[in-house]
């Protein structure tokens, strides 16, 4: 029974080996210069970072991100329905319609509460 | 006479509802209305005295109405001779309590009287119940108003006393509840029928071990209420803190619940266990008699003295019950009534002293007999009754108890008799220091003698004291058949059970116990 899971174990094993090999290789073969402090900076891309990384981000970003995830996830429910569309028939349409209505209520709520306004 | 008992039982509740309609400010109207209700109640209940036929059925005025079918609980009331007397005592004391607290209660008058009436219903329910569930409901119901009476209208330590009273009684009650349930399921196991009817539960045999455990569960509840010796500590607190009317009802009726519980439930339901426990309970009763008397001896406080004398007197009542012969039990029943009357009167007297001087300290009084002659006479009669002077009621009860007990347990009786002597000592000494001698404290010089109202409170009680003392026959004859049945039930040995019951119990039946030698020798 557990043999079905063997490919996963195998994949895991391959992943570990590949990752380990890369780390070991770069450690063995890479140049040993750690003199420059720029190598310790968060973004090692040539630009010198300015200011503190722990600055505040406007809460609006969070709200927007949260709303995006919410609606995104709910929209995902449309896909299985779309695939089974023929099999589910009219009943399926009705149920999905009801689902969308609830979604709309949520949308209306978000909109009227002003969560979508930037200013 | 359908629903006669129900009428008696719920009339006070009806009165309480009417009382609730009177505005609280109108105190005089509330007092008068309550008095009227209580007197009418007494008049309604009084015909029981004549209507009850002692030679007739076991329980009379029986009412039988289904209540909770699915649990097998029935609203089942009925009275026998003993409950008739206790009922009459209760309904007599309620109007007296209203009269006695006429001036004593000066705040929240309306609530006080409503609770008093509810309390009456609770007490009567206990005396009427022939179904364990109904009994338990009233048993607990009665707790609540008493708790308020002590807690709201009591003395300085009232809250402590009220909570202690409640917790002690509740503790006993809930253990009994578990006992009731165990019996209930035992009955179901034997017969397949769910019932809480006393008669049905009495009809089945209970195996020895279980019987003893159940008897203990019941006995602890009742022993707390009596109160018997190690469980008595709530009593002095409750009595001293309670208002006069509360103390009176507590002493006169509530304490009888314990002994009545033994008489009606614990002993008839579990006769063999009762006989097994007899030496222990009788022993504790004797200890209670002596202990109560000794503690009363050193009390500087009138009310506490009377409270401890209650412990002592109820020890006698318990002794009488466990004499297990007609004489002793008869004495015990009469003594229940006596104690209600005499101690009730004594607590009224304490209240009258307190109204005048706002203290219960014996040292604060002295020489009152010259100042209050009427009071002195009535107080004297009540004191002598409490001591058990021949010709007054106390003598009848104590004498019968001692005679009954002596037939079976002469040693215990001998020790208990010391309690009678001690009682004479502490009561007379208290009476002497309160009433005789010179008036030494200025405030005592101008105390008013009893008012007409106060005389009216004491007079009926004093009349009963003399009546029972001189001519107890009407009381004894009313209770005798019931007591006969009780003794018959409790002393019946396992071997004499009806055949079909014995068969069910064949493998568990105990060998018949020897009937104690004195039992045949009924006077």
């Amino acid at each position: 029974m557990l043999t079905e899971y063997l490919p996963i174990v195998f994949l895991l094993f391959v992943g570990l080996v590949v990752g380990g090999v890369i780390i070991v290789l770069s450690w063995r073969m890479g140049p040993r210069t750690r003199a420059l402090s720029i190598g310790d900076s968060p973004y090692e891309c040539g630009l010198v970072p300015t200011g503190d990384a722990r600055s505040r981000v406007d809460v609006k970003f969070y709200i927007l991100a949260m709303l995006f995830i919410l609606f995104d996830v709910e929209i995902v429910f449309l896909f299985p329905w779309a695939i089974m569309f023929d099999a589910l028939g009219t009943l399926g349409i009705l149920v999905m319609f009801e689902f969308l209505v609830i979604l709309l209520v949520g949308y209306a709520y978000v909109w009227r509460k002003g969560a979508l306004e930037w200013d | 006479m359908a629903f006669y008992l129900t009428t008696i039982l719920f009339f006070p509740i009806l009165g309480a509802v009417m009382l609730a309609g009177i505005p609280g400010r109108n105190r005089a109207a509330i007092r008068q209305a309550t008095l009227a209700i209580a007197v009418i109640h007494f008049l309604i209940a009084l015909p029981l005295w004549w209507l009850y036929a002692p030679g007739g059925a076991d329980y009379q005025f029986v009412e039988h109405v289904p209540w909770i079918d699915s649990l097998g609980v029935e609203y089942h009331l009925g009275v026998d001779g003993v409950s008739v007397l206790l009922t009459l005592l209760t309904v007599l004391l309620t109007p007296l309590a209203v009269l006695g607290s006429w001036r004593y209660i000066d705040h929240h008058v309306k609530e006080f009287h409503i609770l008093l009436l509810v309390l009456t219903t609770g007490m009567l329910g206990v005396f009427f119940a022939l179904d364990l569930f109904v009994f338990y409901v009233f048993w607990e119901l009665m707790l609540v108003p008493m708790y308020f009476l002590i807690g709201v209208w009591g003395g300085e330590q009232r809250v402590y006393a009220a909570v202690k009273f409640f917790l002690y009684t509740f503790l006993g009650g809930v253990l009994m509840l578990v006992g009731i349930l165990a019996l209930y399921f035992h009955h179901q196991g034997v017969t397949g029928v769910y019932t809480t009817s006393l008669a049905d539960l009495m009809a089945i045999p209970v195996p020895g071990e279980l019987q003893l455990a159940l008897f203990l569960a019941f006995a602890i509840a009742f022993a707390i209420k009596v109160p018997m010796f190690p469980f008595h500590t709530w009593l002095p607190d409750a009595h001293v803190q309670a208002p006069a009317a509360g103390s009176v009802i507590l002493a006169a009726v509530l304490l009888k619940m314990g002994t009545y519980g033994f008489y009606r439930f614990a002993m008839p339901l579990f006769p063999e266990a009762a006989r097994q426990a007899l030496p222990w309970i009788a022993g504790l009763a004797v200890v209670g008699v002596i202990y109560g008397a000794m503690v009363a001896l050193v009390q500087p406080n009138v009310k506490k003295l009377v409270a401890y004398s209650s412990v002592s007197h109820l020890g006698f009542v318990m002794l009488g019950l466990f004499a297990l012969n007609v004489t002793g039990v008869q004495g015990s029943v009469i003594q229940m009534i006596n104690h209600g009357i005499s101690t009730g009167a004594l607590f009224f007297i304490c209240g009258m002293l307190y109204e005048r001087r706002h203290t219960y300290e014996i040292a604060q009084f002295g020489g009152l007999s010259t100042v209050m002659p009427v009071f002195a006479v009535l107080f004297m009669i009540v004191t002598l009754s409490s001591i058990g002077l021949p010709g007054l009621n106390g003598f009848v009860g104590e004498f019968l108890i001692l005679v009954g007990m002596f037939q079976n347990h002469p040693w215990m009786t001998g020790i208990a008799t010391a309690g009678v002597i001690l009682a004479a000592y502490y009561m007379l000494r208290m009476f002497q220091s309160v009433m005789f001698g010179d008036v030494e404290i200025e405030a005592n010089r101008k105390l008013p003698d009893l008012s007409g109202r106060e005389v009216a409170v004491l007079l009926p009680l004093v009349a009963l004291i003399v009546w029972i003392g001189v001519y107890p026959a009407p009381f004894l004859s009313r209770t005798e058949p019931s007591v006969d049945r009780f003794v018959e039930r409790v002393t019946r040995t396992a071997g004499t059970q009806p055949a079909e019951v014995a068969e069910l119990d064949a493998d568990e039946a105990e060998p018949p116990e020897a009937v104690p030698a004195g039992l045949e020798g009924r006077p």
Binding site: T90, L91, L94, A108 | S70, L71, E140, L167, F170, L181
Partner: protein
């Protein structure tokens, strides 16, 4: 006829009976959404005193009330049609049985009383958001789903729907530190317990290969039970234990009960507990019936701990909400005894007690709610309750009644409930547990009496509480008083109903 219309009719015929069991939940959801929408479009809302200020929702509370009443009506309809109800519904995800319908009624009665009490409370404490009513309805819908769940997944969905709503409601007085603290604690520990629950579900699935309660029952009925299954059952006990606040999983409840707005506390103490216990009892009485020998000792120990700790800890509390929190822990212990009895009598006792408990707890919180003043809830037993008997005699009398009922003094619902549970315990041979139950009841008498003592036997030392009872709250209190007395004096038909509801405790095929 038009083929499209015909197809719609066919669909309707399929949907209508399928929806029957979830009709009350659907009604609640519908009205919850309506309340939200109406308010968000500024219909049925007073204007604020100045420009830009918020007004008060007028329509939302009444929509919520109507919705709950309708849902209650639907439950009545379900009860009447129970005999002919078919099934399985939603492929067995939902079961419709007497047990579920009875508890649906209890949950909705609790919700209705919460709403009645909440309206005046919100005015007094400046809670002017319609979301409040929306969340109560959604949480109630979650409870109904839990109560009727026939599948671990459904239980979980209901549990989350209920919990998320209640988390937010707990923190509704967000300017109060205690409210926010309570909400955070509840959320973190709630999420934690959800983890336990899910892990337990996963292990049970691993052992049984299905989430369906009937399926699990069939799969695990063959002894010996695998260790995986037992671990799953243990984790489920932890998960349920958190939700219904069994010791030692009760730590959150005093803080949360104290911090939450009083009506929400009442809602938690009744609704959440009912729903949690409903699923608990259903899963253990039906699905894990065969494992009774394994779980009874565990629950036995939990019941002992819960009764002792709950009652002893309550003695020291001065804040009445906190005291009632510990008291509700203790009552969870009593309810657990009914489950341990593991019999039809026990389940009937559980149902009866749940109804009685809901009424008396709601009543007690109702008094707490109406005694609050603007800005303060007045919850100190020593200070705020002293002497109120003579200022608010009816409120005090009602409170005393609820306290006596919680103690278990006849003739109240609490007494008959306790009697029923004790019966069940004694009947199943758990006499020690019954004795412990009554002994802890004696302890509980002490702290319930403390409230009565304070109300009746102490003089007030603060300025008098000025509180008028809002009409709605008065109705709620009246219902509670009549209910507590009615269930206590004439328990016959209710006991009968509880017994009848157990006949098929599971409704599982």
């Amino acid at each position: 006829m038009n083929p499209e219309i015909q197809e719609l009719l066919v669909a309707y015929r399929v949907v209508r009976p399928a929806l029957f069991p979830v009709l009350p939940a659907a009604v609640l959801t519908l009205f919850g959404l309506l309340a939200l929408l109406v308010d968000v479009f500024e219909l049925g809302r007073t204007r604020g005193p100045a420009e830009g200020e918020t007004g008060t929702p007028i329509m939302a509370p009444y929509l919520a009330l109507i919705g709950t009443a309708l849902a209650l009506g639907c439950v009545g309809w379900q009860a009447a049609r129970l005999e002919t109800a078919g099934g399985p519904y939603f492929s067995g995800m939902v079961v419709l049985d007497g047990f579920g319908v009875f508890l649906s009624g209890v949950v909705l009665a609790g919700t209705l009383l919460t709403l009645l009490l909440t309206i005046g409370y919100c005015r007094r404490h400046d809670i002017h958001l319609a979301e409040y009513y929306h969340l109560i309805l959604m949480a109630a819908a979650g409870m109904l789903i839990m109560v009727l769940a026939g599948n671990l997944i459904t239980i979980f969905v209901g549990l989350e729907l209920m919990s998320v709503g209640v988390y937010v409601l707990t923190g509704f007085r967000r300017t109060r530190l205690r409210s926010v603290e309570g909400a955070l604690k509840y959320f973190v520990l709630g999420a934690f317990s959800t983890g336990f629950f899910l892990y337990g579900m996963a292990l049970v699935y691993g052992a049984a290969g299905t989430f369906d309660l009937a399926g699990i029952r069939d799969a695990v009925s063959v002894p010996p039970a695998s260790p995986v299954l037992l671990a799953g059952v243990a984790l489920l006990i932890v998960g349920f234990g958190f939700k219904v606040a069994l010791v030692p999983f009760h730590m959150w409840s005093p803080d949360v009960y104290q911090g939450a707005p009083a009506p929400v506390t009442a809602f938690m103490a009744t609704g959440v507990k009912t729903a949690g216990f409903a699923a608990f009892v259903r899963v253990f009485m039906s699905t894990f019936d065969g494992l009774a020998d394994q779980w009874i000792p565990v629950l036995w120990a939990l019941a002992v701990l819960t009764m002792v700790v709950g009652n002893v800890a309550a003695i020291r509390q001065d804040d009445i909400k906190r005291m009632l929190a510990y008291s509700s822990i203790a009552h969870a212990g009593y309810l657990l005894v009914a489950l341990i009895a593991h019999s039809d009598i026990g389940t009937a006792a559980f149902l009866y007690y749940m109804a009685a408990y809901t009424l008396m707890t709601m009543g007690a919180f109702g008094i707490v709610i109406v005694l609050g003043e603007k800005g303060t809830e007045n919850t100190s037993i020593e200070r705020d309750y002293a002497g109120i008997a003579w200022r608010h005699p009816l409120l005090a009398a009602a409170m005393a009644l609820f306290m006596f009922s919680l103690t278990g003094i006849p003739p109240t619902a609490g007494f008959v409930g306790k009697f029923a549970i004790l019966s069940a315990a004694v009947n199943s041979g758990h006499v020690p547990l019954a004795v412990l139950l009554v002994l802890t009841s004696v302890i509980s008498a002490y702290y319930y009496l403390k409230v009565v003592v304070s109300m009746y036997m102490r003089a007030s030392e603060r300025e008098p509480i000025r509180s008028q009872v809002p009409a709605m709250a008065a109705i709620a209190l009246l219902i509670a008083v009549v209910g507590v007395l009615g269930l206590g004096i004439f328990p016959g038909q209710w006991v009968e109903m509880a017994r009848a509801s157990v006949v098929a405790v599971t409704g599982l095929p």
